[in-house]
């Protein structure tokens, strides 16, 4: 498989705005609907960053489609002044796949949450990943069911006490990054609602990746699960609890930039790089373009390991054939082989007889 450099990837299908057409601004992507999320919800930031980045994508507004399922996050399409379809619980991937298949020129975005994508829509999620349509998937992970007023979700930590689990939830949570990787996802990333610059950069990279691009976004539900990701998002704790992934760069983190991740056997180990024992040369160097998924899986697993910083950024970005292109090729191939379909001939195919 060919490696890709996201910054240089040319998108052949999604038509670009021709020269001379006035450029759009964030305002052009705001719909006339009142945004109805709880005040302080992390969704506002994700919406704002998406609206801000859209003009930079260089595609006409009419070619953009947002598709969502059900949940707080799934209200998103109503607030985007693009084409949008607020569908049914868990099924956005299927409808988005149909939209993209029928018109590969469209830029299609799936907006989903942890319950929508990983619980009721879990089956569609994994199959969407392996089909590799050129779609962008933003999963707002707040580790809770917000719209239904606070039940545990498939990403809630085990033992979570909620209205439906007063004695604590019994289930092991999903790791969305691991699940996406296991399903064959070609672009897998994580970002934060409270880090607008990073979020915009990752959204743009997702757009530029040809294939299904998956972004898990740590998102705060300030009503039912306030602060669930604060140690990764807040200024006081963020630097020591996250490691930002940069291609070709060693895994360095910490407020003092003096900590790093080293491979100890098959385990990640946090080491100090300034006390003389280790240097940055001893650290794992990130490679998001490698075809082999070992490193990406290793990094994904860090967020399941106690006391490890959570990796933020692009875990994996590789170029594989897209479903819609393969289908289009089959159609062209068939037309070349046997000619354009002739309906009259098709109806009259096989053994026929004439009665006069």
């Amino acid at each position: 498989m060919k490696r890709e450099r996201t910054s240089r990837t040319k998108r052949s299908r999604t038509s670009r705005i021709p020269a001379g057409v006035p450029t759009l601004s964030k305002k052009d992507f705001e719909s006339d609907q009142d945004t109805r999320w709880c005040p302080g919800c992390g969704d506002y930031s994700i919406l704002a960053q998406t609206q801000r980045i859209m003009p930079e994508l260089g595609i006409p507004r009419e070619n953009i489609v947002f598709i969502s399922g059900i949940g707080c996050s799934s209200r998103f399409p109503y607030y985007m002044n693009t084409y949008g379809f607020h569908t049914i619980h868990g099924r956005a991937p299927t409808i988005a796949s149909g939209v993209k298949m029928a018109n590969p020129n469209l830029s299609v975005w799936v907006i989903t949450g942890d319950g929508d994508a990983l619980s009721i829509g879990g089956n569609h999620f994994i199959h969407m990943m392996r089909r590799n349509f050129d779609l962008n998937v933003l999963l707002f992970n707040n580790r809770i069911y917000g719209l239904t007023k606070g039940q545990y979700s498939p990403t809630s930590e085990q033992g979570k006490q909620t209205y439906s689990t007063p004695l604590g939830s019994l289930e092991t949570p999903f790791n969305p990054i691991s699940l996406a990787l296991a399903s064959g996802a070609t672009f897998v990333a994580r970002s934060l609602d409270r880090d607008p610059d990073h979020l915009r950069t990752v959204i743009k990279s997702a757009f530029e990746h040809k294939g299904t691009s998956f972004i898990e976004i740590y998102q705060n539900c300030n009503i039912y699960n306030d602060g669930t990701f604060f140690q990764y998002t807040e200024k006081e704790t963020k630097a020591d609890n996250t490691v930002f992934l940069e291609h070709s760069e060693p895994l360095v983190f910490g407020a003092e930039r003096n900590k790093g991740i080293r491979l100890n056997g098959f385990q990640p180990e946090v080491v100090e790089t300034t006390n003389g024992d280790y240097t940055t040369d001893d650290l794992i160097v990130h490679d998001q373009y490698t075809e082999d998924t070992t490193l990406a899986n290793f990094l994904a697993g860090m967020s399941d390991t106690p006391d490890m910083p959570h990796p933020i950024g692009i875990f994996r970005s590789v170029r594989h054939p897209c479903y819609e292109d393969a289908m289009t090729n089959q159609i062209h191939g068939a037309k070349e082989r046997v000619g354009d379909g002739d309906l009259e001939a098709l109806l009259n195919a096989g053994e026929t007889w004439t009665v006069s």
Binding site: D32, Q33, P60, R61, E62, N63, I64, V65, I67, P77, Y78, M80, N81, Y83, G84, F85, H86, T87, I88, R91, P93, T94, I95, A96, S97, G98, V99, K100, M101, A102, N103, N105, L106, N123, H124, H127, M327, Q330, I331, G333, A334, K335, R337, V338, G339, D340, G341, L343, E344, L346, L347, N348, A349, G350, E351, T352, W353, T354, V355, S356
Partner: protein, 618 residues
């Protein structure tokens, strides 16, 4: 000396054997041959759900019934003139379908003690009087096939697989049919395996010569061509007619076809059929489940394609939430339900009409959806085409309610000219729909009440749709009480208005009088045949067969009121009956059968007699 040939009007043959015995193959060959010489034909494949049930067991019996005639026929026949039983299990399962004095051909080589025991026979039925009232021809099919193929390089196992062609050779002789069509078919089928071409043709010829040479068969029969309306004909199965109807609708409308499906009996053949036609631009997507299958079709419809999904009852249950989404979003969508016997998994390889109420009502909220049902295998073409036309014109999901009996049955089809196909106009909204207030996705066509189909990619028509209730005209999310009621009424009225386009209902037989048989779907053949018999007898009986089940035709009320009794025969517990009784407030009578099998003509005839007696006739 050539043996005498007797002219007969019609015949019914049932081929039966183990599911690996090739009964479906030789049944199809005899059907195609008969159709090609101009007979009217009707078939009923009847096979087990297991791909290979234990050899010789009752569960593993696969049958194929063929009715061919020099007259117009509508059913695969009630009882058979000929039963070909390849083993004791086939005899046990099907003997009751053979007419008294009918021809019974058995492969006597398979009647050893073990096979008899597997079929549950204590004694050999060929010797204990079980078959006394039939003309029995005990043929050493296995031994004779082995003998005929002894000079080939095939293994015994391979040779034994050719014995169905020996049996076919016999039947072709018995009905004075040429072997030419089958020989041509064998050559195409085994083009890459020439050794099988030779072997099957040898077996076919051997069976044919066996009948001519031995003294077992004294006469053969001839069934002359039937009178058909002028035109070009082909033989077609219902599911294949559905495939062609969908491709025709795509072609005539200019809308690319996107078919989402998940494998399920008996609908999979539509997926297989469509998958062959990529050169027509047909996109088939085998999805991870039934919900995804309808999901891609809805997405494709939103994007401006002809979105179609297909399944059977259990799949429809899973799809119902998504179909409801297409309903409230007012997107065109065609949903094919090839019904099978339910409930739950039910009997996947048996026919039934028990999903009608599910299709009418099986969704949350007020959810009116048009329903059309084909009546015969070839009628699947026109009916699914009509489903596409309605879906596109009215921007609504439409249910095409077929069933296993017609989906897998076959009969001759007069191939339509393209100029005979109704227009399907895609009619997408363009820039001109945008005005001062921006685009209003829920403004409507005053005649059809359809909302604009504004596909993504159209400048200035950016809009949002979804499953939440929308405000009239603007399409904004709305919880307004009055608006909700209004939208519910608009959606109902939109579907009701389709009735204005339904052509006048054909009443066959008496135009008014004693009894009207009101049918729908795959019961057409049996009902029409029974009514034809009654009409020939001078009785005041009529037949109406509904294609449009929702909405009903506007003239139906008047027709129902012209008869003293309305009899509704259905392969369910009375579902159309409930709808007709509640819609028209008439005391219609049901005649119901829920056995996974179609009606026999005689069953309907005796029910008609019973009603006539109650009315004081006879």
């Amino acid at each position: 000396m050539r043996k005498p040939v007797e002219q007969i009007e019609e015949a019914t043959i049932l081929f039966a054997g183990d599911s690996g015995d090739g009964s479906q193959t030789i049944g199809t060959q005899m059907t195609e041959t008969s159709a090609l010489i101009g007979n009217d034909v009707a078939t009923l494949p009847d096979y087990p759900a297991e791909i290979r049930a234990p050899a010789g067991s009752l569960a593993g019996v696969s049958g194929f019934q063929l009715h061919f005639s020099s007259e117009q026929i509508h059913t695969p026949g009630d009882l058979c003139d000929v039963l070909v039983a390849m083993n004791p299990a086939a005899l046990k399962v099907h003997l009751h379908k053979l007419k008294p004095n009918g021809i019974l051909i058995v492969n006597v080589d398979n009647f050893a003690r073990r096979s008899l025991r597997l079929a549950g026979y204590e004694d050999n039925p060929l010797e204990d009087g079980t078959v006394a009232k039939y003309q029995v021809f005990s043929v050493e099919l296995t031994r004779l096939t082995r003998k005929a193929l002894e000079n080939t390089d095939l293994t015994t196992r391979e040779i034994d697989r050719c014995k169905n062609f020996f049996a076919l050779g016999m039947i072709l002789w018995l009905y004075n049919r040429s072997m030419e069509y089958t020989m041509k078919w064998v050559k195409t089928k085994f083009a890459t395996k020439p050794q099988y071409i030779e072997a099957n043709i040898l077996a076919l010829r051997a069976g044919n010569i066996y009948c001519e040479a031995t003294e077992q068969f004294a006469v053969s029969y001839d069934v002359k061509p039937a009178a058909f309306e002028p035109g070009t004909y082909r033989n077609i199965e219902g599911n294949m007619a559905t495939v062609l109807g969908l491709i025709a609708a795509s072609h005539q409308s200019g809308l690319p076809l996107v078919y989402g499906s998940y494998p399920i009996t008996p609908a999979s053949d539509i997926l297989h059929g469509l998958a062959q036609y990529r050169n027509f631009g047909v996109i088939t997507m085998q999805m991870e489940d039934e919900i995804a299958a309808v999901g891609v079709a809805i997405g494709a419809a939103f994007s401006g394609s002809l979105g179609v999904t297909g399944s059977s009852g259990p799949g429809l249950a899973l799809k119902s939430e998504a179909i409801n989404l297409a309903m409230i979003a007012e997107l065109p969508l065609v949903v094919c339900n090839i019904q099978r016997a339910g409930p739950s998994t039910g009997m996947p390889t048996k026919t039934e009409q028990s999903d009608l109420l599910q299709m009418f009502y099986g969704r949350n909220g007020e959810s009116p959806i048009p329903i059309v049902a084909p009546s015969r295998p070839f009628d699947c073409f026109e009916t699914v085409y009509e489903a596409c036309r309605i879906a596109v014109k009215y921007r609504t999901p439409v249910i095409f309610l077929s069933d296993l009996y017609i989906g897998m049955g076959a009969e001759p089809w007069r191939i339509p000219k393209l100029s005979e196909l109704p227009e399907i106009k895609a009619d997408f909204a363009g820039r001109e729909y945008a005005h001062g207030n921006g685009f209003e996705p829920y403004q409507r066509d005053p005649e059809t009440l359809a909302r604009p189909w504004a596909k993504p990619g159209t400048p200035e028509l950016e809009h949002r749709i979804g499953g939440l209730e929308k405000s009239d005209i603007t399409g904004h999310v709305s919880y307004d009480a009055e608006n909700h009621e209004k939208m519910v009424e608009i959606r109902a009225e939109k579907v009701a208005r389709i009735a204005n386009e339904i052509p006048p209902t054909e009443v066959f037989g008496a135009q008014e009088g004693d009894v009207l048989l009101l049918g729908w779907g795959g019961t057409y053949g049996a009902v029409r045949t029974a009514v034809e018999h009654c009409v020939e007898d001078g009785l005041s009986i009529a037949h109406v067969h509904l294609r449009h089940l929702n909405p009903f035709p506007n003239d139906l009320a008047d027709i129902l009121n012209r008869f003293k009794k309305v009899l509704i025969p259905e392969l369910n517990r009375g579902q159309l009956l409930k709808l007709v009784r509640s819609t028209y407030l008439i005391d219609a009578i049901g005649f119901n059968k829920v056995q996974g099998q179609p009606f026999h003509v005689y069953e309907l005839e005796s029910k008609i007699d019973e009603i006539l007696k109650e009315l004081g006739h006879f």
